[in-house]
Assembly symmetry: C2
DNA sequence: CTTCAATATGTTGACGTAAACATACCGACC
DNA sequence: GGTCGGTATGTTTACGTCAACATATTGAAG
């Protein structure tokens, strides 16, 4: 910086002003400084800047397995939103579903100088209430709404409800549910809302069938459901399970949606190209990322009047895998 | 740090020594300092440390869509390996397949104070030879081997070869190939090696069928291939396409592996649970992550004698989707 | 008892930046 | 023409740490 100042014939403070885009710099001076920067290949030193400002310009993201589609999408969205706000993203993966593992990742990120942390919780930990070291802004995504931190998630309840209502509206007497694993927050909420929507509508509540998000588990559940003639509509908690389910139904000679309507959740890229194209619930991860970053910035910048909870509305996408029940179907 | 020093009754320099785990500190003094740190909740300031040492303790990762399975896995593996080396990972996503977009992400990461950058290239850019600003260690993963940077990738050629050899060894006269998109480096290498293995074995080379990695594209290709009785073995360039392919064959009444053997590439989580379980090529992403970090550290620490190219050997996993051709099948 | 080496600890200064304050200049107004 | 307010720029200082050097202490060897 000193070299730039010398070359441009100004003080280092003026260089600093130009680097930070302050307004009160003469345009001619600014030009001189910029060209000097160019000549010398000057890059501001973020460490020195952070030392003075106390800000690092970085957000931390803690997430479970990024091999999982939702987690990866969420991470990508947070990274995009962070860049918009001129923050970089420090990523740290966690393997074990334990509070200890999360806390360890947290400690590591604190040491790595981030201004705030997004915890993509997605799965339940071994302890019911997460307690992290204070003095660090935190936002939880996809996780438990029980603890003290601001929270961002899709409105799973609304998504489920729209699917179940859609199927009931088509004339189905009730809707079966192929749920995700019990340790997933999203799976729980989807199942709860499915149940409530049925009871609110006065429809009978069939037993829940559990899968593990995989197509394989959907297939196995489907082999069972295919033998029950009373099953005319199934809501799978994600698209992969819906895929497996449809395949099992097909193999058992039950047509979709002729004999059985099937709906999923997530709207993965392939959903529109399945046979038949899958009715599902679309989720806008970009919005989730934006909200996470916004809530974090609220805390970092000391704003306490903002919302502490954001629910992103998913949208029902009706395709061809759902239809009215066949007339004269078992009631 | 000054407070810790006061509380422990030592100088700040001694605190620094304890924080950095230097040897020449009396164990009693060390204890005092550590307990003072505990009491005051002291955390070293990485910005100040970076300012003095010139090191940031962070690696940058630039990647295309993390929604893609391979990219997400690679990112996760790099993050894990980086943590082992006490580096954090600064992630930046790139949407457009242009050199300009990559260069932009690169600039941003340079400003964000990283010690080196891994570029997960995976897809071809608009310009043939990538040129990045110098004075920053770079490692390219999954990408073009043509440019100057050290490179890490799976040995796609070997993986392809083992699949094709396996199928030829079972007695198939030749092997068809369902390739990935032309702008993918991995897809190109897999296709090239498939072709070479066939010609080396004196087998005829059928026309290449192109997909786009999706199950849908595999399905569509399968609808076509199913009508050709001369097709007895197909090597799909990834597992998703193999899935779609198998489904199309099944619908067309051609059994797998009875009528047609199918092999994939990637060994995704579902591969072992398909019907039939898929013969495919397993890739160890963890090793790729480790190599990326190791090559980067070589550069950061000024070692120039290390290897400049690392190929991770994928492993053929034979399951039930491949078998000898039906006796008396068309030759 | 002196000398020396080894070990433990303290003191000083520098890293690159931006905030706070100080100064210089300009034009407008009474 | 003097005072005032605004704008452009310069000067000083502190941020938290660690390297380099300086000093104190200890024990062993001569």
């Amino acid at each position: 910086m000193a070299d730039v100042a010398t070359l441009a014939g100004v003080s280092s403070q003026t260089v600093s002003r130009v680097a930070n885009n302050r307004q009160n710099v003469d345009s001619a001076t600014r030009e001189k400084v910029l060209s000097a920067m160019q000549t010398l290949g000057y890059r501001p030193n973020t460490a020195a800047r952070a030392l003075v400002t106390g800000r690092f310009g970085a957000l931390g993201v803690i997430s479970f397995d990024v091999g999982a589609h939702g987690n990866a999408r969420t991470l990508g969205a947070i990274a995009d939103a962070a860049r918009e706000a001129d923050f970089s993203v420090n990523f740290m993966g966690v393997r074990a579903q334990t509070e200890a593992a999360v806390r360890h990742a947290f400690q590591h990120l604190m040491l790595q100088s981030v201004d705030g942390i997004v915890l993509v919780e997605s799965q339940m930990l071994d302890t019911p209430s997460l307690r992290l070291p204070p003095s660090m802004p935190v936002v939880v995504a996809d996780g438990d709404t029980g603890h003290e931190y601001p929270h961002v998630d899709f409105d799973q309840a609304h998504g489920s409800q729209s699917v179940v209502s859609h199927l009931l509206g088509l004339g189905h007497r009730t809707v079966w549910h192929l749920a995700g694993p019990a340790d997933s927050f999203a799976a729980r909420r989807r199942a709860e809302s499915w149940r409530r929507t049925l009871t609110d509508a006065g429809a009978p509540v069939p037993p829940v069938v559990y899968g593990d998000w995989s197509a394989r588990s959907g297939y196995r559940a489907g082999l069972d459901l295919a033998h029950r003639p009373e099953v005319t509509a199934v809501f799978a908690a994600n698209d992969q399970m819906a895929m497996g389910l449809m395949r099992a139904l097909h193999e058992a000679g039950r047509s979709v949606p002729g004999d059985v309507s099937v709906a999923g959740f997530d709207d993965i890229a392939e959903a529109a190209y399945l046979v038949p194209p899958l009715t599902t619930v679309h989720q806008d991860f970009e919005v989730v990322g934006k909200h996470c970053v916004a809530l974090l910035l609220d805390q970092i910048e000391g704003r306490t009047d903002g919302p502490r909870r954001r629910a992103v509305e998913p949208v029902l996408v009706v395709r061809s895998s759902t239809a009215p029940p066949r007339p004269g179907a078992p009631a």
